[in-house]
Symmetry: C2
């Protein structure tokens, strides 16, 4: 049963200890291990030694207690959609697959909240919610699990209105490395009772424990919505419109930015005839008179900023067509260099600094042969460049890494962060000292206090 | 210079060590100590041995390092408006008065954020912001400092719309017990870069370190606002209206509840002629057409729930007059038994559980001679009973404590919390084990990791 390719010496003992508990749901099979060792990441695969498919919080507790006794790394796994290497197993160990913990435990329609197991995906939850008129708004690009989204502090296009996982998780069930089961937070909308443990686990990327259940805020579907797409002569004009719209408190549900190259790529890929110019997709929501009012205000603000053209969706179909173009951005980008997957940058800066940040990094990009179309969640100051480099070409690979690193430097200079929503994993570790300074040592102290044997997703975010 | 009344043996050494640094700004004078030992709390005073008036983050760092070496407790002090004994010094030690750190360091109008020193009060900040059209929404009853508000995770009447300090603090400067100075969070609207240290210090009540600077989110003043007061036959009808209004996504800026006794007290105290019946004060905000629309919807929802009467403010003056009645609630309550100050309960429950929670506790209250008028932030599920008991009467004192304890039990049974916004301090410590279960041990582990000598506001929230 022992596999000579085990990376971690404690793997065989863990397999033997857990087999009676889990039967066929724990495996050292090579194909399952390979499936759990790469995910959507641009980083080289690093498969685990074992894969365990957990079904209950109690089972997670017994698995963690066992691995803790043996000193075996445990890497929580949801949908495998993280992109910075969060589910990689560089030291080997056990990939704890939680996708089978996918029950919706409670929907509180009156309280606009719900409790779910960690393996429920956001789409599944929203399908189940449809009959209630409620929905959960956080929409990362991937079909992610809610446990994974909490662990990477995910956000999406509607974060400008509803907040990210940081704002929308009310409480958690967490299993600590030694197997203790905790509940953090609760169902009350607010509490001043002691330390905020919920926020400690949200964004910890599984390095402090395993989230097995989440209580989430829900929202009522807005009565009306209106989409438009505005083209601008430059990024600064688009950003000025975003700032003005936020000041006015318009009912912005989404306000998404693309640069000239991205719009060219979209037009080429989709056959659309939008201007080859920086653009904002905007969705306004609220009551019908509120949306009508806000649309007028927004159009005025965009015109004041020098908008070249404003395409107003006249129907739900037209709105959907405009949003399909936005959602096709990644595929349109990749079509600029077929066969290349690219890597996505993820800095987030104060909104006033967006134009400078973008100008400065595009000047760096222009010195290379790498196409780098831009999309962004402009209302949050978060944008992504897809760096379409050829990983077989050492010069391009070096250039791509340099662009990524330089962009983080610029973002930090401007008061921003290296990652708005993708998290740190292995991919952004190198920037944590610059970003956090002495606070990084406090993170290490907390890690050591909660996970003294260092079994939880080791070597992610920082080294201890 | 040594005072025989020092409670802590290390106080004289700290005074001697810090006098060269601070001169007259450190004192063992009895009147200053008395001023720093009670605040607004209902608990018996517990003055510190020393009071130090800090002026800079660097100075806070040197004070903490000195006290850490000597093992002397340090109790951060802002405006002294906390009510659960957060600023009490039961073990003696040094009260670190931060009210002199009151500079507004930066207002970012474009980014709708600001950075302030911890001693700035919320009113001062809003006065400074007036010319920008921006404001900071969290409004606890007291003229509190923003550092204190962050430390107790304060909220207020507008939390239903904007969130509490939990949602609105973007970043902090914190001094750790050993004198290390950290920055947490930053100016980006969101970040997925590592552990959320900001939320660890927000609500920690000064037990993990001292907050010296805060970066806060700001908001644009709404274009229009409309106030109304609705009277209902019972609490359940009022609550049903709140739930429906939240579902509809109305632009609720505030939605405040009072019970029949509270309304009687207000009518008697202010000479108003509102129905002696449970009431909601409501403020709708947004664009003028949005507010007009939402007002119509709200009136319909209230009528559906059986509202007895709806008083719509026809002018800003009328709106102010209605809100003055709300703000007079505490004084009106105290006038029910002149000379008694009362203590305020603070549970918060899922909104659907509000009627049951209130019914059950009012049945307990009815078995005593204690009047207990109710006001609440209905949109958050948070309410306060002012228990007007005579502290000189042992029977009444016992009854008041029993009501408070029973209310916490009921709230926890209903999925709520012992404190929505006042914090734990000394007053709610006894409930933490029931509320948090095994999570309380994790709080202790974190406390011990960050403050191994236990100098930061010891014996608050929990005992180590």
């Amino acid at each position: 049963m022992t596999d000579p390719a085990f990376k971690h010496p404690a793997a065989p003992a863990a397999l033997a200890a857990l087999r009676p508990l889990m039967g066929d749901r724990i495996s050292a099979g090579p194909s399952l291990r390979a499936l759990h060792g790469a995910g959507e990441s641009w980083l080289p695969a690093a498969p685990p030694d074992l894969v365990a498919m957990a079904e209950t919080t109690g089972e997670v507790s017994r698995i963690l207690a066992t691995c803790n006794d043996l000193g075996l790394p445990v890497i929580p796994f949801g949908a495998g959609s993280s992109i910075e290497g969060q589910i990689h197993a560089p030291l080997g160990g056990l990939s704890l697959d939680l996708s089978g913990m996918a029950r919706i435990l409670r929907i509180g329609a009156e309280d606009m909240d719900c409790t779910v197991q960690c393996g429920v995906t956001r789409q599944r939850l929203n399908e189940e919610l449809r009959a209630t008129g409620l929905f959960f708004p956080v929409d990362p690009g991937a079909e992610a699990t809610l446990g994974g989204m909490a662990s990477t502090r995910a956000s999406g296009t509607t974060t400008v209105r509803y907040g990210s996982m940081r704002e929308l998780v009310l409480g958690l069930t967490v299993v600590l490395p030694d197997g203790r089961i905790l509940r953090t937070g609760g169902r009350a909308r607010k509490s001043a009772a002691g330390y905020d443990l919920t926020h400690l686990f949200v964004g910890a990327e599984g390095t402090l424990g395993v989230i097995t259940e989440l209580t989430l805020r829900l929202f009522g579907q807005p009565e009306a919505r209106q989409t438009l797409l505005c083209s601008f002569p430059d990024i600064a004009a688009a950003t000025a419109t975003v700032v003005a719209a936020l000041h006015c408190g318009l009912g912005l549900n989404r306000i998404e930015l693309a640069d000239r190259l991205q719009m060219q790529a979209i037009n080429r890929h989709a056959g659309s005839d939008l201007p080859d110019a920086p653009a904002l997709w905007v969705e306004l929501v609220g009551s019908p008179p509120a949306v009508a009012h806000d649309l007028g205000v927004f159009q005025g603000l965009a015109a004041d900023a020098g908008a070249l053209r404003q395409d107003i969706a006249e129907s739900a179909d037209q709105a959907n067509a405009l949003w399909r173009l936005r959602h096709s951005a990644l595929y349109a980008s990749r079509a600029l260099r077929p066969g290349l997957k690219g890597i996505s940058t993820d800095v987030c800066v104060p909104i006033s600094a967006l134009p400078e940040c973008i100008d400065r990094i595009l000047a760096v990009v222009a010195e290379t042969a790498i196409p780098a179309p831009l999309v962004g969640h402009a209302g949050d100051g978060n944008f992504h460049l897809v760096l379409l480099f050829d990983p077989a070409d050492p010069k391009e690979t070096g250039d791509a890494r340099r662009i990524n690193a330089r962009l983080v430097e610029i973002a930090l200079e401007l008061g921003g962060t290296s990652t708005g929503e993708h998290g740190v994993g292995l991919g952004k570790k190198a920037y944590m000292a610059d970003e956090h300074g002495p606070a990084l040592d406090l993170m290490r102290q907390i890690k050591q206090a909660i996970d003294p044997r260092g079994i939880m997703n080791p070597s992610k975010i920082f080294d201890v």
